[in-house]
Point group: C2
Chain length 148, copies 2
């Protein structure tokens, strides 16, 4: 009944330098929010971290049922259990540090996305319930990952 | 250039009881993943927490430029700085506890979404870089929120 949903980008990602490594999380990247949505950013400066939900428009591969083993893995795993960009929908989700806002432009640190990537949504971190923040600091992960 | 993106749900949310409070984060909810994507879940059982990205299909309001004040807020704020469901794109993002997996069905705790909500993507928590988990436990929030 919800076979194909229409989604319209709210902005796009602009990397500062065209040749930089988009996987380097120490770099600062710009998010250009559509001008008419500028006021929807009001108050975001009060959060140090935000989630960016984006559309990995350069991902074409559809071999998403199994992800090949990586050096840390002992067996193949499904894409829903990885951060691999090959997904049924090429949706990216990254938690970044908000450095500053200038009108409709956000400067964020740690966004591992290509230049010109469409942005679908922006949400504050962390989530909350009845005004109380929800932080998950007790969690279980596979053996091929290391805890912080 | 990316004016309208097509997105196809990977499954949907099935609440256990039709009359339960969908805002009650102590409840367990089912996620029915499309049968053909079942193997994409392999290995997800090794994570205790996962992100659910969903489409809030019942949200019709488009007054998203400013969000009215709530009891904890002192001024109106933009929707990108809130968790309000009224967004340019009605995308929901919730971090939930994965209780168990049965084939193509995930049982999760803490999913604040309506029955039959389309699911767009599933991602493991937390994110990582070079195999090392990234947990953000130092953060700044507005005065109307309380830290954990």
């Amino acid at each position: 009944m919800h076979n194909n949903l229409q989604i319209k980008p709210v902005g796009y990602i602009k990397r500062i330098s065209p040749n930089e490594d988009d996987k380097d999380r120490s770099l600062v990247t710009k998010i250009i929010v559509n001008e008419e949505l500028k006021k929807a950013l009001d108050g975001i400066e009060n959060f140090s971290h935000i989630y960016i939900i984006f559309w990995m428009h350069q991902i074409k591969d559809t071999n998403y049922l199994h992800h090949p083993s990586k050096k840390h893995e002992t067996e193949a795993i499904g894409v829903f259990a990885t951060r691999a960009p090959i997904h049924p929908n090429p949706i990216g989700l990254t938690l970044v540090e908000l450095i500053k806002r200038e009108g409709n432009i956000l400067f964020v640190k740690g966004l591992d996305a290509f230049d010109d990537t469409p942005v679908l949504d922006i949400k504050p971190y962390p989530d909350w319930e009845h005004g109380n923040c929800i932080i998950v600091d007790e969690y279980r992960i596979p053996k091929w990952l290391k805890k912080k």
